[in-house]
């Protein structure tokens, strides 16, 4: 089943996909075009992976990491499907990153690889924009480059884990204005999902709704105001976002 969080007719609802429409939790069947899409989950922890695909690490001239390189995002970083992301005034290079996102389903502490999938409620798509102008070599990738307001589109769906039999073999595609820019497959992750869950929960307890953005393959390019960026993962969802001008120069 595919779940969404939407604003419809003046209030926030949980909804599920039903024959191309949305069944809202109060029973109404409404069109997808009639809602505002919100991030499908409200996490308290947003973990993201850097350099988790070997081709992407090469692209950025880094040796692949020997243990997961993870950073955190604030809750204000998320924005829903069909949302807008601001390109900061004066920025020279801002790029998208299509990422399979794991949603934790139950309290997870000291979870082993073998049992990791039992702690996943489902999957969604993230676009982990980076503004490279602000990268510094202190806690890199730093929050000013990666934790910016509304610069991490998420959604449209939370897809139940049962509906994704092999999350380690999904194709990822990013298009900009309809042109394919980035292609990859989740089988090329350096640290797979069970390894990541075992690693993180060895020292931090994760809660239902917490997110792990699992990294991105190669194929990065600069995006400009007006560009429509679509990050899509087979079976999980097609997440669209528009780059807009900064409203303060």
């Amino acid at each position: 089943m595919k779940h969404a969080r939407v604003a419809y007719a003046g209030s926030v609802h949980h909804a599920v996909s039903e024959h191309g429409q949305l069944r809202v939790d109060d029973g109404r069947l409404v069109s997808e075009a009639s809602v505002i899409w919100l991030p499908p989950v409200v996490p308290s922890v947003i973990l993201a992976l850097g350099l988790n695909y070997a081709d992407h690490a090469r692209e950025l001239s880094f040796a692949p990491p020997v243990e997961p390189l993870a950073f955190l995002k604030p809750r204000t970083a998320l924005v829903g499907h069909l949302g807008q992301t601001r390109r900061p005034a004066g920025a020279v290079h801002m790029h998208y990153e299509c990422e399979l996102t794991v949603v934790i389903g139950k309290t997870a502490r000291h979870v082993t690889r073998r049992h990791a999938y039992e702690f996943i409620s489902g999957y969604t798509v993230a676009n982990d924009y980076a503004v490279r102008d602000y990268l510094e070599n202190y806690y890199r990738p730093n929050m000013r480059a990666k934790g910016r307001d509304e610069a991490t589109p998420l959604g449209p769906w939370l897809v139940d884990a049962l509906d994704i039999p092999d999350p380690m073999n999904l194709s990822l595609t990013t298009t900009v204005n309809g042109h394919v820019m980035q292609q990859g497959c989740t089988k090329d992750m350096i640290f797979d999902i069970p390894t990541l869950i075992e690693h993180f929960t060895s020292f931090m307890t994760l809660q239902p709704g917490d997110l792990i953005l699992t990294g991105t393959p190669e194929g990065l390019a600069d995006v400009k105001p007006g560009d429509e960026v679509v990050t899509e993962i087979a079976g999980v969802g097609r997440l669209a976002n528009t780059i807009v001008e900064d409203w303060r120069s």
């Binding site: 604030p74 204000t76 970083a77 924005v79 202190y138 806690y139 307001d149 020292f203 931090m204």
Partner: protein, 296 residues
Amino acid sequence: MPEVLPSGQSSPSLFALSDWQLRFSQREKSPSHPAQKTMISRRSLLYFTRGTETLQTTPILPAQRAPQACPHFAALAAPPDICDALVMPDAPRSVIGVALNFRETVHRLAASFNAPPYQHPPQAPVLYLKTPNTWINSGHPIHCPPGADRLRMAGTLGVIIASTACRVPAAHAHAFIAAYAVVNDISLPHDSFYRPALRERCSDGFCALSEPSPSAQTHFEIGVVINNVLRSVSNTSSLVRSISHLIQDISEFMTLLAGDIILVGEPETSPLAAPGDLVRVEIPGVGAIENKVVAA
């Protein structure tokens, strides 16, 4: 030393509540009071723009502290959102730490900033998050993870944000402060600031927080006492970026919400503690917390 919490106190209390907070909490209990209606209606005002939610706040209390010079920011600086900002520590919030923000530390490391891997001195504040799994109250044990024999105890000041703060100039930042907290920002000792220090900073129970306390002070003295021996004294007058400049520089790219907490920095003299040690952090005029380090 000033008034402090009794040793080991961890339950929420009226400690350090100011007059206006007390008045408000009494109002909340009275169903007929108009303030409660205002509060309920305020909480229902959700706005949606471009797929994000904004809780639109309307004033309950007079905006006495709003600055006069800039009408735009004076209007934006809503009074402290008491219900959301001051429920410690479990309300949804971001707790944001700032590394390399005491002058003594920056002086010690200055020579290394121009060498690999850093290449240049930091331009923006060096930030990290303390995730909810790290939050504990005073009195709760600090678990020393397996494989570690010492933990760094950075006594610091937490600045609690009053209302939505987006791109706030430093000159108006104080209108966005609801209260302060005493914080023990715990970490596994580490020397490198190159990669995000997730395990070092975000292991379970690595952030002890006091009850919130309003304060009119402009500078705060921070003491760390281990087993009744004073081990560190620092003062926020030594910050590289002042509290106002932290609010400005962080809210430039990351909107701060009511209840978010900025930890102003790790004092250079932050001591280490081992299992068995009783660690007390005190900030005169704000409060104190006390936690015992135990083996995991």
